[in-house]
């Protein structure tokens, strides 16, 4: 059922993801701005605030490159670059409507494998600069990975189980009638949490937290910083966007064409995450670990069991 996308889609996809990331970051900047300085006085001011991420990118482009004494430049740079690379490669299996850049038979495993690169990326970026605070930040992400990854994997296998396929196109097709989010709510919620954790953003931003002067990003300047932080937004867009084919019926929906539904649903999920982030402080893993293993893991396991029983009986 899913069409093979033409090869030029591989060029369009990164651009589309970057645009989505800029819009999301802009929305976030508008919300932050109104908390910090009160609601925007008018459309013009709101627009100015929304362009903050772009202006920040420009500022970073003008900065001089920077390195720290006896830094591990190869690994550090590798970590920085891995973030956007992992995000975009994971995005390859994101169906736009019903058509993805690529739809391999193990698309879900591919997605999981790519986003797991974030583990390496953040740790390497923290290790590279030879700075105590950034090292602490890098290690924080490893602990975070240990906490979010299992519930996350159970959540996505639950969706795959519902379709009895690891192909993303099949998962979308299986939701023609009923969205998975409706009968796998626990998996959906856990997936959203782990999407944030994977993008080390919002309540899961501890690896880059202020208390460690930026943690893994503390020593990054210029383009390195832009690539790392921009890559983080890409990762957020991709992981949030992947919840649409997994749980929200992909391009299925009345009236509008498939691509429009994908766009709408992705925007809704991102808006929910960006707005919802404001309700929570950062979660520290020494507290979250226990919750992840003793509540989220059994919860997703029960969810998977429930889905397995449904699959057996249909």
């Amino acid at each position: 059922m899913p069409d093979a996308a033409p090869l030029w889609a591989a060029v369009v996809l990164p651009v589309a993801l970057v645009v989505a990331a800029v819009v999301t970051a802009g929305f976030d900047a508008v919300l932050s701005g109104s908390a910090e300085r009160g609601p925007a006085g008018g459309v013009r001011e709101a627009g100015l605030r929304a362009t903050a991420p772009l202006r920040e990118a420009l500022r970073l482009l003008v900065q001089q490159p920077r390195r720290t004494t006896a830094a591990d430049r190869l690994l550090g740079r590798l970590g920085v670059v891995l973030v956007p690379v992992a995000a975009v490669l994971a995005g390859a299996v994101l169906p736009w409507g019903f058509c993805a850049v690529s739809d391999p038979s193990v698309g879900i495993v591919w997605f999981n494998a790519m986003e797991a690169l974030a583990w390496a990326a953040v740790w390497l970026a923290g290790w590279g600069p030879n700075s105590a605070l950034s090292l602490i930040g890098g290690y924080r992400f490893l602990a975070q990975g240990l906490a979010y990854e299992l519930p996350h994997m159970f959540a996505i296998t639950t969706a795959a189980l519902g379709a009895e396929s690891l192909r993303v196109g099949d998962v979308v097709a299986a939701q023609d009638g009923l969205w998975f989010a409706v009968w796998m709510p626990a998996a959906f919620v856990v997936y959203l949490l782990s999407a944030l954790a994977m993008a080390f953003w919002g309540p899961f931003g501890h690896p880059l937290s202020r208390d460690a002067a930026g943690g893994a990003e503390a020593e990054l300047a210029g383009v390195d910083r832009l690539v790392f932080l921009g890559g983080r937004w890409l990762l957020l867009v991709v992981t949030a966007g992947f919840s649409v084919p997994l749980f929200l019926g992909g391009g299925h929906g009345p009236l509008l064409p498939g691509w429009a539904w994908t766009l709408l649903k992705t925007a809704a999920v991102l808006a929910l995450l960006v707005a919802g982030r404001r309700a929570l402080p950062v979660l520290r893993m020494e507290r979250y670990m226990e919750l992840a293993w003793m509540v989220l893991v059994p919860l997703t396991l029960l969810q998977a069991l429930f889905v397995a029983v449904v699959v057996l009986n249909r």
């Binding site: 739809d103 296998t157 003793m294 069991l305």
Partner: protein, 116 residues
């Protein structure tokens, strides 16, 4: 393998984009030669290099994580055959998961999931 060809193209596109971005940065940078500096911890100089053997106190968690992570290798192919194999597939998988989780519960009771 035509499913993987677009991935390679994508990798190329991203790589080219990153090279372009770094190039643009070099063109725009207020100073091109990199700044060489010490690490930041508030302005004072640290006593040692930071690269060190880091005291990872969540080490036990990594062990149980590995056990579960290996289990995922079985679970991915398993999802494709559930209705084919039938009830035994579900029973066996969740028995396995149940045993693993019992180990997690034990580790939790022993305090492996807390470290402060």
């Amino acid at each position: 393998m035509d499913a993987w060809q677009p991935m390679l193209v994508l990798l190329g596109v991203v790589g080219a984009g990153l090279v372009g971005l770094y190039g643009l940065g070099l063109w725009l940078a207020a100073a091109r030669a990199p700044l060489e500096t010490g690490p930041f911890a508030g302005g004072l100089e640290p006593g040692e290099h930071a690269v060190s053997r880091f005291h990872v106190r969540w080490y036990p968690v990594t062990m149980i994580f590995l056990a579960f992570d290996m289990e995922m290798l079985f679970m991915y192919p398993w999802v494709k055959v559930v209705s084919e194999v039938g009830t035994t597939a579900v029973v066996e998988m969740f028995l396995f998961l149940g045993i693993l989780f019992a180990a997690v519960a034990y580790a939790w009771r022993e305090g492996a999931l807390r470290w402060t």
